[in-house]
Protein backbone atom coordinates (compact mmCIF):
# COMPACT_ATOMS: atom_id res chain seq x y z
CA UNK A 1 0.00 0.00 0.00
CA UNK A 2 1.45 3.43 -0.91
CA UNK A 3 2.36 5.61 2.06
CA UNK A 4 -0.26 8.38 2.16
CA UNK A 5 -3.26 6.17 1.40
CA UNK A 6 -2.12 3.69 4.06
CA UNK A 7 -3.11 6.33 6.62
CA UNK A 8 -6.18 7.83 4.96
CA UNK A 9 -7.68 4.75 3.32
CA UNK A 10 -8.14 6.32 -0.13
CA UNK A 11 -5.91 6.62 -3.18
CA UNK A 12 -4.98 10.04 -4.50
CA UNK A 13 -5.19 11.04 -8.16
CA UNK A 14 -1.40 11.37 -8.08
CA UNK A 15 -1.02 7.72 -6.94
CA UNK A 16 -3.38 6.55 -9.66
CA UNK A 17 -2.03 8.67 -12.51
CA UNK A 18 0.44 6.24 -14.05
CA UNK A 19 -0.91 3.05 -12.50
CA UNK A 20 -1.38 -0.01 -14.73
CA UNK A 21 -5.17 -0.16 -14.45
CA UNK A 22 -5.90 3.40 -15.50
CA UNK A 23 -6.47 4.07 -19.23
CA UNK A 24 -4.65 6.91 -20.98
CA UNK A 25 -6.28 10.32 -21.36
CA UNK A 26 -6.47 9.75 -25.12
CA UNK A 27 -8.35 6.48 -24.63
CA UNK A 28 -10.70 7.99 -22.08
CA UNK A 29 -11.76 10.75 -24.46
CA UNK A 30 -12.73 8.19 -27.11
CA UNK A 31 -15.61 6.72 -25.14
CA UNK A 32 -16.54 4.37 -22.28
CA UNK A 33 -13.69 2.43 -20.65
CA UNK A 34 -12.98 0.92 -17.24
CA UNK A 35 -10.67 2.38 -14.61
CA UNK A 36 -9.06 -0.15 -12.26
CA UNK A 37 -8.05 1.39 -8.94
CA UNK A 38 -6.13 -1.55 -7.48
CA UNK A 39 -2.56 -0.77 -6.37
CA UNK A 40 -1.92 -3.45 -3.80
CA UNK A 41 -0.43 -6.91 -4.32
CA UNK A 42 -3.35 -8.92 -2.93
CA UNK A 43 -4.07 -12.43 -4.27
CA UNK A 44 -7.01 -11.81 -6.58
CA UNK A 45 -7.82 -12.16 -10.28
CA UNK A 46 -11.57 -12.33 -11.05
CA UNK A 47 -11.21 -9.14 -13.16
CA UNK A 48 -8.91 -11.02 -15.50
CA UNK A 49 -10.95 -14.22 -15.64
CA UNK A 50 -14.23 -12.35 -16.17
CA UNK A 51 -12.90 -10.29 -19.12
CA UNK A 52 -13.97 -11.92 -22.38
CA UNK A 53 -11.78 -9.72 -24.58
CA UNK A 54 -8.49 -10.11 -22.71
CA UNK A 55 -8.28 -6.42 -21.81
CA UNK A 56 -7.21 -7.14 -18.21
CA UNK A 57 -4.08 -9.14 -17.43
CA UNK A 58 -3.01 -10.22 -13.95
CA UNK A 59 -0.92 -13.19 -15.02
CA UNK A 60 0.12 -16.42 -13.41
CA UNK A 61 1.14 -14.80 -10.15
CA UNK A 62 -2.24 -13.73 -8.74
CA UNK A 63 -0.72 -11.02 -6.56
CA UNK A 64 0.36 -9.07 -9.66
CA UNK A 65 -1.52 -5.83 -10.22
CA UNK A 66 -4.17 -5.90 -12.95
CA UNK A 67 -2.95 -4.29 -16.18
CA UNK A 68 -5.55 -2.74 -18.45
CA UNK A 69 -5.21 -2.58 -22.21
CA UNK A 70 -7.58 0.31 -22.85
CA UNK A 71 -7.72 -0.32 -26.59
CA UNK A 72 -9.12 -3.81 -26.02
CA UNK A 73 -11.74 -2.77 -23.43
CA UNK A 74 -15.23 -2.84 -24.95
CA UNK A 75 -16.86 -1.36 -21.82
CA UNK A 76 -19.06 -4.39 -21.14
CA UNK A 77 -19.02 -3.47 -17.38
CA UNK A 78 -18.65 -7.11 -16.26
CA UNK A 79 -15.51 -6.42 -14.20
CA UNK A 80 -17.25 -3.47 -12.49
CA UNK A 81 -19.66 -5.75 -10.64
CA UNK A 82 -17.36 -8.80 -10.48
CA UNK A 83 -14.41 -7.14 -8.65
CA UNK A 84 -14.65 -8.33 -5.01
CA UNK A 85 -12.84 -5.18 -3.92
CA UNK A 86 -15.26 -2.87 -5.77
CA UNK A 87 -12.20 -1.15 -7.20
CA UNK A 88 -13.30 -0.95 -10.84
CA UNK A 89 -15.33 1.91 -12.34
CA UNK A 90 -16.41 2.68 -15.87
CA UNK A 91 -16.18 6.22 -17.16
CA UNK A 92 -17.25 7.89 -20.38
CA UNK A 93 -15.67 11.27 -21.13
CA UNK A 94 -17.18 11.50 -24.61
CA UNK A 95 -20.54 12.93 -23.52
CA UNK A 96 -21.44 16.28 -25.15
CA UNK A 97 -21.21 19.65 -23.38
CA UNK A 98 -18.21 18.74 -21.27
CA UNK A 99 -20.11 16.08 -19.40
CA UNK A 100 -19.04 12.58 -18.41
CA UNK A 101 -20.61 9.51 -16.88
CA UNK A 102 -19.24 7.39 -14.04
CA UNK A 103 -20.49 3.88 -13.36
CA UNK A 104 -19.77 2.43 -9.93
CA UNK A 105 -20.56 -0.81 -8.10
CA UNK A 106 -23.26 -0.28 -5.47
CA UNK A 107 -24.22 -2.63 -2.62
CA UNK A 108 -26.27 -0.41 -0.35
CA UNK A 109 -30.04 -0.54 -0.26
CA UNK A 110 -32.37 1.04 -1.25
CA UNK A 111 -31.04 1.50 -4.77
CA UNK A 112 -31.43 4.92 -6.34
CA UNK A 113 -33.67 5.21 -9.38
CA UNK A 114 -33.02 6.55 -12.85
CA UNK A 115 -33.27 10.37 -13.01
CA UNK A 116 -32.81 10.75 -9.22
CA UNK A 117 -30.55 13.60 -8.18
CA UNK A 118 -27.91 12.24 -5.77
CA UNK A 119 -24.76 13.67 -4.20
CA UNK A 120 -21.51 12.69 -5.89
CA UNK A 121 -18.61 12.00 -3.52
CA UNK A 122 -14.89 11.75 -4.17
CA UNK A 123 -12.54 9.00 -2.95
CA UNK A 124 -12.31 10.69 0.46
CA UNK A 125 -16.10 10.80 0.78
CA UNK A 126 -16.09 14.59 0.28
CA UNK A 127 -19.07 16.13 -1.46
CA UNK A 128 -18.47 17.15 -5.05
CA UNK A 129 -22.01 18.22 -5.86
CA UNK A 130 -25.27 17.04 -7.38
CA UNK A 131 -25.35 14.34 -10.03
CA UNK A 132 -28.16 12.80 -12.03
CA UNK A 133 -28.60 9.03 -12.08
CA UNK A 134 -28.48 7.82 -15.68
CA UNK A 135 -28.91 4.12 -15.08
CA UNK A 136 -29.24 1.51 -12.33
CA UNK A 137 -28.66 -2.09 -13.25
CA UNK A 138 -29.08 -5.26 -11.30
CA UNK A 139 -29.44 -8.75 -12.70
CA UNK A 140 -29.17 -12.20 -11.20
CA UNK A 141 -25.64 -12.83 -12.40
CA UNK A 142 -24.48 -9.61 -10.74
CA UNK A 143 -25.11 -11.39 -7.40
CA UNK A 144 -26.47 -8.34 -5.51
CA UNK A 145 -23.76 -5.93 -6.68
CA UNK A 146 -25.74 -3.33 -8.64
CA UNK A 147 -24.15 -0.73 -10.87
CA UNK A 148 -25.16 2.90 -10.68
CA UNK A 149 -24.23 5.34 -13.45
CA UNK A 150 -24.24 9.06 -12.77
CA UNK A 151 -23.74 12.04 -15.02
CA UNK A 152 -21.16 14.57 -13.85
CA UNK A 153 -19.09 17.47 -15.20
CA UNK A 154 -16.23 16.04 -17.24
CA UNK A 155 -13.54 17.14 -14.80
CA UNK A 156 -15.11 14.93 -12.12
CA UNK A 157 -14.73 11.78 -14.23
CA UNK A 158 -11.59 10.72 -12.36
CA UNK A 159 -12.84 12.05 -9.02
CA UNK A 160 -16.46 11.00 -8.48
CA UNK A 161 -16.36 7.50 -6.98
CA UNK A 162 -19.36 7.22 -4.66
CA UNK A 163 -22.82 8.61 -4.12
CA UNK A 164 -25.02 9.57 -1.22
CA UNK A 165 -28.74 9.35 -1.85
CA UNK A 166 -29.80 12.32 0.26
CA UNK A 167 -28.61 15.72 -0.97
Amino acid sequence: MPSESSKTGFLTEEELKDSPGVPTAARRQKGPVVVIECLEDIPCNPCESSCNVGAIVVGKNITNLPHLDGDKCVACRTCVYICPGQAIFMIDESLPQNRASVMMPYEYRPLPEKDDIVTALDRAGKKLGDAKVLAVRQTKKMDQTATVTIEVPRDWSMRARAIRLEP
Partner: protein, 367 residues
Protein backbone atom coordinates in the same frame (compact mmCIF):
# COMPACT_ATOMS: atom_id res chain seq x y z
CA UNK B 1 -18.37 -46.36 22.89
CA UNK B 2 -19.02 -45.14 19.37
CA UNK B 3 -16.11 -45.47 16.99
CA UNK B 4 -15.38 -43.47 13.87
CA UNK B 5 -12.57 -43.45 11.38
CA UNK B 6 -12.32 -39.67 11.51
CA UNK B 7 -13.66 -37.02 13.84
CA UNK B 8 -13.63 -33.33 12.91
CA UNK B 9 -13.92 -30.82 15.69
CA UNK B 10 -15.54 -27.77 14.11
CA UNK B 11 -17.83 -27.44 11.10
CA UNK B 12 -16.26 -24.26 9.71
CA UNK B 13 -14.53 -24.02 6.34
CA UNK B 14 -11.49 -26.06 7.46
CA UNK B 15 -13.47 -28.84 9.15
CA UNK B 16 -16.00 -29.18 6.34
CA UNK B 17 -13.33 -29.15 3.61
CA UNK B 18 -11.40 -31.88 5.46
CA UNK B 19 -14.54 -33.96 5.99
CA UNK B 20 -15.47 -33.65 2.30
CA UNK B 21 -12.01 -34.61 1.07
CA UNK B 22 -11.79 -37.60 3.42
CA UNK B 23 -15.36 -38.80 2.78
CA UNK B 24 -14.85 -38.53 -0.97
CA UNK B 25 -12.11 -41.11 -0.59
CA UNK B 26 -14.25 -43.43 1.52
CA UNK B 27 -13.46 -42.38 5.09
CA UNK B 28 -16.30 -42.53 7.61
CA UNK B 29 -16.50 -39.04 9.13
CA UNK B 30 -18.39 -37.27 11.89
CA UNK B 31 -18.15 -33.51 12.40
CA UNK B 32 -18.93 -32.00 15.82
CA UNK B 33 -19.78 -28.35 16.23
CA UNK B 34 -20.86 -26.56 19.38
CA UNK B 35 -23.11 -24.15 17.50
CA UNK B 36 -26.68 -24.76 16.41
CA UNK B 37 -25.72 -24.03 12.79
CA UNK B 38 -22.80 -25.35 10.80
CA UNK B 39 -20.44 -23.26 8.66
CA UNK B 40 -18.32 -21.51 11.26
CA UNK B 41 -17.92 -17.88 10.24
CA UNK B 42 -18.78 -18.50 6.57
CA UNK B 43 -22.47 -17.70 6.89
CA UNK B 44 -21.82 -14.18 8.10
CA UNK B 45 -19.39 -13.46 5.27
CA UNK B 46 -21.79 -11.63 2.99
CA UNK B 47 -19.00 -10.10 0.88
CA UNK B 48 -17.43 -11.53 -2.26
CA UNK B 49 -14.21 -13.46 -1.69
CA UNK B 50 -10.81 -12.70 -3.18
CA UNK B 51 -8.44 -15.20 -4.78
CA UNK B 52 -8.96 -16.92 -8.10
CA UNK B 53 -11.60 -19.26 -9.46
CA UNK B 54 -10.17 -22.33 -7.69
CA UNK B 55 -10.54 -20.44 -4.36
CA UNK B 56 -14.16 -19.58 -5.21
CA UNK B 57 -13.26 -15.92 -5.77
CA UNK B 58 -16.11 -13.47 -6.49
CA UNK B 59 -18.55 -15.75 -4.67
CA UNK B 60 -20.08 -14.61 -1.39
CA UNK B 61 -18.98 -16.49 1.73
CA UNK B 62 -22.44 -17.68 2.77
CA UNK B 63 -23.02 -19.21 -0.65
CA UNK B 64 -19.69 -21.02 -0.43
CA UNK B 65 -20.71 -22.29 3.02
CA UNK B 66 -24.00 -23.63 1.68
CA UNK B 67 -22.26 -25.50 -1.14
CA UNK B 68 -19.83 -27.11 1.35
CA UNK B 69 -22.76 -28.27 3.45
CA UNK B 70 -24.56 -29.71 0.42
CA UNK B 71 -21.41 -31.51 -0.68
CA UNK B 72 -20.77 -32.94 2.79
CA UNK B 73 -24.35 -34.18 2.98
CA UNK B 74 -24.15 -35.83 -0.44
CA UNK B 75 -21.02 -37.67 0.66
CA UNK B 76 -22.72 -38.96 3.80
CA UNK B 77 -20.76 -36.89 6.31
CA UNK B 78 -22.51 -36.87 9.69
CA UNK B 79 -22.68 -33.32 11.12
CA UNK B 80 -23.57 -33.29 14.82
CA UNK B 81 -24.58 -29.82 16.05
CA UNK B 82 -24.88 -28.51 19.62
CA UNK B 83 -22.00 -30.88 20.30
CA UNK B 84 -19.20 -29.54 22.48
CA UNK B 85 -15.96 -31.53 22.42
CA UNK B 86 -14.73 -31.37 26.01
CA UNK B 87 -11.46 -33.20 25.69
CA UNK B 88 -9.15 -34.87 23.19
CA UNK B 89 -7.05 -37.70 24.60
CA UNK B 90 -3.94 -39.37 23.28
CA UNK B 91 -5.47 -42.74 22.51
CA UNK B 92 -7.98 -41.19 20.11
CA UNK B 93 -10.77 -40.88 22.64
CA UNK B 94 -12.88 -37.74 22.84
CA UNK B 95 -15.51 -36.60 25.28
CA UNK B 96 -18.41 -34.86 23.60
CA UNK B 97 -21.35 -33.15 25.24
CA UNK B 98 -24.29 -33.51 22.87
CA UNK B 99 -27.24 -31.47 24.10
CA UNK B 100 -27.41 -32.54 27.77
CA UNK B 101 -25.48 -35.79 27.77
CA UNK B 102 -21.79 -36.63 27.64
CA UNK B 103 -20.58 -39.34 25.31
CA UNK B 104 -17.21 -40.92 24.89
CA UNK B 105 -16.28 -41.53 21.27
CA UNK B 106 -13.17 -42.82 19.63
CA UNK B 107 -11.54 -41.96 16.32
CA UNK B 108 -8.61 -43.35 14.41
CA UNK B 109 -7.84 -39.81 13.26
CA UNK B 110 -8.93 -36.52 14.78
CA UNK B 111 -8.88 -33.13 13.10
CA UNK B 112 -9.12 -30.13 15.39
CA UNK B 113 -10.49 -27.19 13.42
CA UNK B 114 -11.86 -25.21 16.32
CA UNK B 115 -11.20 -21.74 14.91
CA UNK B 116 -10.45 -18.62 16.89
CA UNK B 117 -11.97 -16.12 19.29
CA UNK B 118 -11.87 -12.33 19.21
CA UNK B 119 -9.30 -10.36 21.18
CA UNK B 120 -10.55 -7.63 23.50
CA UNK B 121 -8.80 -4.57 24.90
CA UNK B 122 -9.65 -3.16 28.31
CA UNK B 123 -10.31 0.59 28.80
CA UNK B 124 -12.47 2.59 31.20
CA UNK B 125 -16.07 1.75 30.35
CA UNK B 126 -15.28 -1.37 28.31
CA UNK B 127 -17.82 -3.46 30.21
CA UNK B 128 -20.73 -1.18 29.24
CA UNK B 129 -23.39 -2.70 27.00
CA UNK B 130 -22.62 -1.40 23.51
CA UNK B 131 -18.94 -2.38 23.56
CA UNK B 132 -18.88 -5.50 21.40
CA UNK B 133 -16.57 -7.55 19.26
CA UNK B 134 -16.70 -6.70 15.56
CA UNK B 135 -17.37 -10.36 14.86
CA UNK B 136 -20.32 -10.26 17.25
CA UNK B 137 -21.68 -7.18 15.47
CA UNK B 138 -21.33 -9.08 12.20
CA UNK B 139 -23.21 -12.08 13.61
CA UNK B 140 -26.03 -9.85 14.87
CA UNK B 141 -26.43 -8.03 11.56
CA UNK B 142 -25.73 -10.76 9.03
CA UNK B 143 -27.09 -13.87 10.76
CA UNK B 144 -29.87 -12.50 12.94
CA UNK B 145 -30.78 -9.39 10.97
CA UNK B 146 -30.39 -7.07 13.96
CA UNK B 147 -28.47 -3.78 13.85
CA UNK B 148 -26.11 -3.72 16.85
CA UNK B 149 -26.49 0.06 17.13
CA UNK B 150 -26.96 3.19 15.09
CA UNK B 151 -23.68 5.07 15.49
CA UNK B 152 -20.52 3.03 15.57
CA UNK B 153 -16.89 3.63 16.44
CA UNK B 154 -14.73 0.88 14.92
CA UNK B 155 -11.50 0.07 16.76
CA UNK B 156 -9.00 -1.77 14.55
CA UNK B 157 -8.13 -1.37 10.86
CA UNK B 158 -7.37 -4.98 9.92
CA UNK B 159 -9.57 -6.77 7.42
CA UNK B 160 -12.17 -7.54 10.09
CA UNK B 161 -12.39 -3.84 11.04
CA UNK B 162 -12.72 -2.54 7.49
CA UNK B 163 -15.05 -5.30 6.27
CA UNK B 164 -17.36 -5.10 9.28
CA UNK B 165 -17.46 -1.28 9.00
CA UNK B 166 -18.72 -1.64 5.44
CA UNK B 167 -21.28 -4.27 6.44
CA UNK B 168 -22.54 -2.11 9.31
CA UNK B 169 -23.15 0.68 6.80
CA UNK B 170 -24.94 -1.80 4.55
CA UNK B 171 -27.11 -2.62 7.57
CA UNK B 172 -27.97 1.06 7.89
CA UNK B 173 -25.58 2.16 10.65
CA UNK B 174 -23.37 5.25 10.59
CA UNK B 175 -19.68 4.55 11.20
CA UNK B 176 -18.37 7.69 12.94
CA UNK B 177 -14.69 6.78 12.53
CA UNK B 178 -12.28 3.89 12.31
CA UNK B 179 -9.30 4.16 14.66
CA UNK B 180 -6.13 2.11 15.06
CA UNK B 181 -3.10 2.60 17.30
CA UNK B 182 -0.87 1.41 14.44
CA UNK B 183 0.39 4.12 12.06
CA UNK B 184 -0.84 2.33 8.93
CA UNK B 185 -4.05 0.55 7.91
CA UNK B 186 -3.77 -3.21 8.38
CA UNK B 187 -6.52 -4.42 6.06
CA UNK B 188 -6.70 -4.59 2.28
CA UNK B 189 -6.50 -1.18 0.58
CA UNK B 190 -9.62 -1.88 -1.50
CA UNK B 191 -11.69 -2.58 1.64
CA UNK B 192 -10.40 0.64 3.21
CA UNK B 193 -11.13 2.61 0.02
CA UNK B 194 -14.74 1.38 0.01
CA UNK B 195 -15.51 2.90 3.41
CA UNK B 196 -13.28 5.98 2.94
CA UNK B 197 -15.30 7.04 -0.10
CA UNK B 198 -18.47 6.59 1.90
CA UNK B 199 -17.08 9.27 4.21
CA UNK B 200 -15.68 7.23 7.12
CA UNK B 201 -12.57 8.98 8.51
CA UNK B 202 -9.55 6.81 9.31
CA UNK B 203 -7.71 7.95 12.43
CA UNK B 204 -4.41 6.11 12.53
CA UNK B 205 -2.13 6.30 15.60
CA UNK B 206 -5.25 6.70 17.75
CA UNK B 207 -6.44 4.47 20.56
CA UNK B 208 -9.60 4.44 22.63
CA UNK B 209 -9.28 6.28 25.93
CA UNK B 210 -12.70 5.59 27.39
CA UNK B 211 -16.31 4.75 26.75
CA UNK B 212 -18.90 7.11 28.24
CA UNK B 213 -22.35 6.30 29.53
CA UNK B 214 -24.16 5.15 32.66
CA UNK B 215 -26.15 2.09 31.64
CA UNK B 216 -24.90 1.77 28.09
CA UNK B 217 -22.47 3.40 25.67
CA UNK B 218 -23.36 7.02 24.97
CA UNK B 219 -20.02 8.18 23.58
CA UNK B 220 -16.34 7.45 23.25
CA UNK B 221 -13.15 9.44 23.63
CA UNK B 222 -10.16 8.57 21.47
CA UNK B 223 -6.61 9.85 21.86
CA UNK B 224 -3.59 10.03 19.59
CA UNK B 225 -0.52 7.92 20.44
CA UNK B 226 3.12 8.72 19.72
CA UNK B 227 5.76 6.51 18.08
CA UNK B 228 6.14 4.56 21.35
CA UNK B 229 2.37 3.98 21.53
CA UNK B 230 2.02 6.45 24.43
CA UNK B 231 -1.12 8.65 24.55
CA UNK B 232 -0.46 12.33 23.77
CA UNK B 233 -2.41 14.48 26.28
CA UNK B 234 -4.52 17.18 24.71
CA UNK B 235 -5.29 15.18 21.54
CA UNK B 236 -8.54 13.69 22.85
CA UNK B 237 -11.55 13.68 20.56
CA UNK B 238 -15.06 12.69 21.57
CA UNK B 239 -17.57 10.85 19.39
CA UNK B 240 -21.30 10.58 20.02
CA UNK B 241 -21.73 6.87 19.39
CA UNK B 242 -23.90 4.14 20.90
CA UNK B 243 -21.71 1.22 19.86
CA UNK B 244 -17.98 0.54 20.01
CA UNK B 245 -16.83 -2.39 17.89
CA UNK B 246 -13.53 -4.00 18.81
CA UNK B 247 -11.60 -5.53 15.90
CA UNK B 248 -8.12 -5.98 17.33
CA UNK B 249 -7.27 -9.43 16.11
CA UNK B 250 -8.14 -13.05 16.75
CA UNK B 251 -6.74 -15.66 19.08
CA UNK B 252 -6.53 -19.34 18.00
CA UNK B 253 -8.69 -21.62 20.19
CA UNK B 254 -6.00 -24.17 21.00
CA UNK B 255 -7.34 -25.33 24.39
CA UNK B 256 -8.14 -28.89 23.26
CA UNK B 257 -4.73 -29.27 21.64
CA UNK B 258 -2.80 -27.94 24.63
CA UNK B 259 -4.80 -30.16 26.94
CA UNK B 260 -3.88 -33.13 24.77
CA UNK B 261 -0.21 -32.12 25.02
CA UNK B 262 0.60 -30.93 21.49
CA UNK B 263 3.92 -29.23 21.02
CA UNK B 264 3.34 -25.51 20.51
CA UNK B 265 5.31 -22.47 19.37
CA UNK B 266 4.69 -18.74 19.74
CA UNK B 267 4.08 -17.13 16.36
CA UNK B 268 2.82 -13.53 16.61
CA UNK B 269 2.32 -13.25 12.82
CA UNK B 270 -0.31 -16.00 13.06
CA UNK B 271 -2.05 -14.86 16.22
CA UNK B 272 -0.21 -16.37 19.20
CA UNK B 273 0.65 -19.79 20.62
CA UNK B 274 0.02 -22.42 17.98
CA UNK B 275 0.33 -26.17 17.50
CA UNK B 276 3.43 -27.14 15.53
CA UNK B 277 2.41 -29.26 12.56
CA UNK B 278 3.89 -30.88 9.47
CA UNK B 279 3.04 -30.50 5.77
CA UNK B 280 0.13 -32.91 6.26
CA UNK B 281 -1.28 -30.71 9.05
CA UNK B 282 -0.47 -33.47 11.59
CA UNK B 283 0.64 -32.30 15.04
CA UNK B 284 3.30 -33.72 17.36
CA UNK B 285 0.63 -36.15 18.58
CA UNK B 286 0.25 -38.90 16.01
CA UNK B 287 -3.25 -39.03 14.57
CA UNK B 288 -4.20 -35.51 15.68
CA UNK B 289 -4.39 -32.97 12.84
CA UNK B 290 -5.12 -29.25 12.73
CA UNK B 291 -6.46 -26.90 10.05
CA UNK B 292 -7.77 -23.36 9.77
CA UNK B 293 -7.49 -20.55 12.30
CA UNK B 294 -6.59 -22.87 15.20
CA UNK B 295 -3.31 -23.58 13.41
CA UNK B 296 -2.69 -19.89 12.62
CA UNK B 297 -5.00 -16.96 11.88
CA UNK B 298 -5.43 -16.63 8.13
CA UNK B 299 -8.48 -16.56 5.90
CA UNK B 300 -11.37 -18.80 4.96
CA UNK B 301 -9.77 -19.65 1.63
CA UNK B 302 -6.50 -20.79 3.26
CA UNK B 303 -8.48 -22.68 5.91
CA UNK B 304 -10.25 -24.61 3.16
CA UNK B 305 -6.96 -25.63 1.55
CA UNK B 306 -5.46 -26.70 4.88
CA UNK B 307 -8.61 -28.70 5.54
CA UNK B 308 -8.36 -30.40 2.17
CA UNK B 309 -4.70 -31.28 2.80
CA UNK B 310 -5.58 -32.75 6.21
CA UNK B 311 -8.51 -34.69 4.74
CA UNK B 312 -6.35 -36.14 1.98
CA UNK B 313 -3.56 -37.02 4.44
CA UNK B 314 -6.03 -38.77 6.73
CA UNK B 315 -7.55 -40.72 3.82
CA UNK B 316 -4.04 -41.73 2.79
CA UNK B 317 -2.92 -42.80 6.25
CA UNK B 318 -6.09 -44.89 6.67
CA UNK B 319 -5.30 -46.70 3.44
CA UNK B 320 -8.05 -45.16 1.31
CA UNK B 321 -5.76 -43.18 -0.95
CA UNK B 322 -2.65 -44.41 -2.74
CA UNK B 323 0.65 -42.68 -2.06
CA UNK B 324 1.13 -41.39 -5.62
CA UNK B 325 -2.38 -39.99 -5.89
CA UNK B 326 -2.12 -38.43 -2.44
CA UNK B 327 1.17 -36.70 -3.23
CA UNK B 328 -0.15 -35.44 -6.54
CA UNK B 329 -3.29 -33.97 -4.95
CA UNK B 330 -1.32 -32.49 -2.06
CA UNK B 331 0.99 -30.76 -4.54
CA UNK B 332 -2.07 -29.29 -6.28
CA UNK B 333 -3.32 -27.92 -2.97
CA UNK B 334 0.05 -26.36 -2.14
CA UNK B 335 0.22 -24.78 -5.60
CA UNK B 336 -3.20 -23.27 -4.97
CA UNK B 337 -2.08 -22.12 -1.50
CA UNK B 338 1.06 -20.43 -2.83
CA UNK B 339 -0.86 -17.57 -4.43
CA UNK B 340 -2.77 -16.88 -1.21
CA UNK B 341 0.42 -16.81 0.86
CA UNK B 342 2.24 -14.31 -1.34
CA UNK B 343 2.12 -10.55 -1.68
CA UNK B 344 2.68 -8.02 1.10
CA UNK B 345 -0.22 -9.39 3.19
CA UNK B 346 0.26 -13.12 2.65
CA UNK B 347 4.00 -13.66 2.48
CA UNK B 348 4.59 -13.10 6.20
CA UNK B 349 1.98 -15.74 7.01
CA UNK B 350 3.55 -18.19 4.59
CA UNK B 351 6.95 -17.75 6.28
CA UNK B 352 5.38 -18.20 9.71
CA UNK B 353 3.76 -21.45 8.56
CA UNK B 354 7.15 -22.69 7.33
CA UNK B 355 8.52 -21.93 10.79
CA UNK B 356 5.76 -24.05 12.40
CA UNK B 357 6.65 -26.90 10.02
CA UNK B 358 10.35 -26.50 10.95
CA UNK B 359 9.54 -26.66 14.67
CA UNK B 360 7.70 -29.89 14.00
CA UNK B 361 10.65 -31.33 12.09
CA UNK B 362 12.98 -30.26 14.90
CA UNK B 363 15.10 -28.08 12.64
CA UNK B 364 14.07 -24.94 14.54
CA UNK B 365 13.48 -24.31 18.24
CA UNK B 366 10.00 -23.58 19.51
CA UNK B 367 9.71 -20.08 20.95
Amino acid sequence: MRRYEMICVGAGPAGLAAAIEAARNGVQVVVYDENDRPGGQLFKQIHKFFGSQEHRAKERGFNIGQSFLDEAQELGVEVSLNSVVLGVYENGALNVMIADRIEQVKAQKTLVASGASENMIPFPGWTLPGVIGAGAAQTMANIHGIRPGNDILMVGSGNVGVIVSYQMMQAGCRVAALIDAAPEIGGYAVHAAKIARAGVPFMMSHTIKEAHGKDRVEGATVIQVDDSWQPIPGTEKRFEVDTICIAVGLNPMTQLLRMAGCQTAFVPALGGRLPAHDENQETSLKGIYVAGDVSGIEEASTAVIEGRIAGLAIAHSLGYLEESSFLEQRTQQYTSMKGLRSGSHGERRGKAKEYLNAVMKGTMDAL
